[in-house]
Amino acid sequence: MGIFTVDSWTEQYNRFADWFTTHNGFWVLALLLLGLPFVFWLGRRVRLFFTHRLSSQQGLIAGKVVVYLGVGLIAVTALQSFGFHIESLLGAAGIAGIALGFAAQTSVSNLISGVFLVAERPFAVGDIIVVGATTGEVLSVDALSIKLRTFDNRFVRIPNESIIKNEVINVTRFPIRRIDLAIGIAYKEDIQKARQVLREVATSEPKCLQEPEPLIVVRGFGASSVDILFAPWAAKEDFLKTKDALLERVKARFDAEGIEIPFPHVSLYSGEATQPFPVELMHRQKESGKAEAVPGSGA
């Protein structure tokens, strides 16, 4: 009398076996067992082929397209074999798609932005880019987002839509970079002498490119110093090391030549620059230690 009798299980099994046989079950099973591994293998081969011919990013996309198409084809074939009507499924999918579309606007926008990013190639995997306040190395350019690794080893995911909408700086696009250093010298210093010393610093640093020639221009007269822009060039891979070495050399040479690098300071004047600052003595200390008012001081 129980539901789960041996006879009922046997009957269920026989029904399933009949249905399976009638609907080309073995063919579908073979399709899944052989077809799916083949599709993934093909995707890998396509990825390697396009990576070798074009770039790793394009290889990745080509491989994924092959896999998605292959899996989709296998799924549709299997469903048709089992007797499902794809047309009605597609119809339902269409309606679901409209509903999904409204809900997935951002994802679709990211997807389309990703296509534009791949076509436009403002940067590639391995480049260092600045997006807003984030600086990092590009790990991948995917369908919905790009992935960065920051220099302190954090993982950052940025939606493709943000990349398309905002300014992106590719730091490593070109082979050489200019190192802009703001150097301030005291007003009393000789600008020509400082310029000559900076030229010698650039010449003596091996990683500093002799050409293009370093730019040395006076930017203006600052609040505490004469501001000079010292801008030599370096290969992009030597940028940080060269900047560090140059700053150290500039300091050492300026110290050796007696050129002052002033710190911010304010000079007080009493009203006339040429007159001494007036100081009025209000109290003086007697030998006994007691303070007494100075006559006529008003104290």
């Binding site: 070109f174 050489i176 010449t203 091996p206 500093c208 490119l209 002799q210 060039w233 370096a234 290969a235």
Partner: protein, 271 residues
């Protein structure tokens, strides 16, 4: 890279810099080539080596500084000799002429460059094993090209000259002759030359090192210049003995960027 050694030279401390040397003992053996101070010693079955470039005014140093950085190479029983081989730098060199040279159409001119060499330290047996390569003179980096593309090169400050003078007292310099031919319709102003030394062979004659002849043919601003390296010593270096083959064998003729301030390659413009 296949190489053939110059004649054997005296052991450490001799004036000559290149050639085969027996391995030193545990005491530090100094060697000076150009600005380069090299020290070698053998300890615990390993070859230790250290080096430093002297600054202007530095005396020859017999011992390395206490904080000198040492490299260590495990010695096999059968490797008992060292060889110091002169080789070219690993990048092209850029040289400015002493003053710009104007070359009329269909004219040619020969100029000479003194290129500081590197030292390749090898352990010898059936096949040489390269231990290290070090420049004898510290050269500055420079860029030959535009800010968008170009070649990273070394800057040679000695200048390109119209006369070649052998200088056996400075065996770390190789004289590189360049023949420039103007096959365009315009005058060619030669201010600066980029020489791909990695394509050159090195020869030795009477204690002076020479390169093979480089022929550069200028075809105008819109075409890249043709560069041909003949692989043989010529002119004053005729009859010189081969010391080493090029780092990178070149094709017979190459279209490369050789002269400065010219946009030779049409840009593929893209966003």
């Amino acid at each position: 890279m296949k190489s053939i050694a110059p004649e054997p030279v005296p052991a450490f401390g001799g004036k000559k810099s290149w050639g085969e040397l027996p391995l030193p003992g545990a005491a530090c053996e100094p060697l000076r080539i150009g600005q380069l101070n090299l020290w070698f010693k053998v300890l615990e079955g390993d070859l230790w080596h250290s080096w430093k470039h002297a600054q202007d005014g530095d005396p020859d140093s017999q011992t390395p500084a206490e904080d000198a950085s040492w490299s260590r190479w495990a010695l096999q029983e059968d490797k008992r000799r060292l060889r110091l081989l002169p080789v070219y730098p690993d990048r092209p060199v850029v040289v400015k002429t002493e003053s710009p040279i104007m070359l009329s159409p269909r004219d040619s001119v020969q100029i000479y460059i003194r290129c500081p060499l590197w030292v390749r330290v090898e352990l010898l047996n059936h096949s040489p094993v390269t231990v290290t390569e070090i420049p004898t003179v510290v050269l500055s980096n420079t860029w030959f090209g535009t800010t968008l593309e170009g070649d990273l090169c070394y800057w040679v400050s000695s200048g390109a000259r119209r006369e070649a003078q052998a200088d056996p007292d400075r065996p770390f310099l190789a004289v590189c002759p360049i023949l420039v031919r103007n096959r365009s319709e315009d005058d060619l102003k030669i201010e600066k030359v980029c020489l791909h030394v990695e394509w050159l062979s090195l020869f030795e004659k009477d204690g002076q090192l020479w390169s093979d002849l480089t022929r550069v043919t200028y075809h105008g601003k819109k075409r890249a210049s043709e560069v041909e390296v003949n692989g043989k010593p010529s002119g004053r270096a005729a009859g010189a003995r081969l010391v080493s083959l090029p780092r990178h064998p070149s094709k017979r003729e190459l279209s490369v960027r050789t002269f400065a301030a010219l946009k030779e390659i049409a840009d593929f413009l893209h966003d």
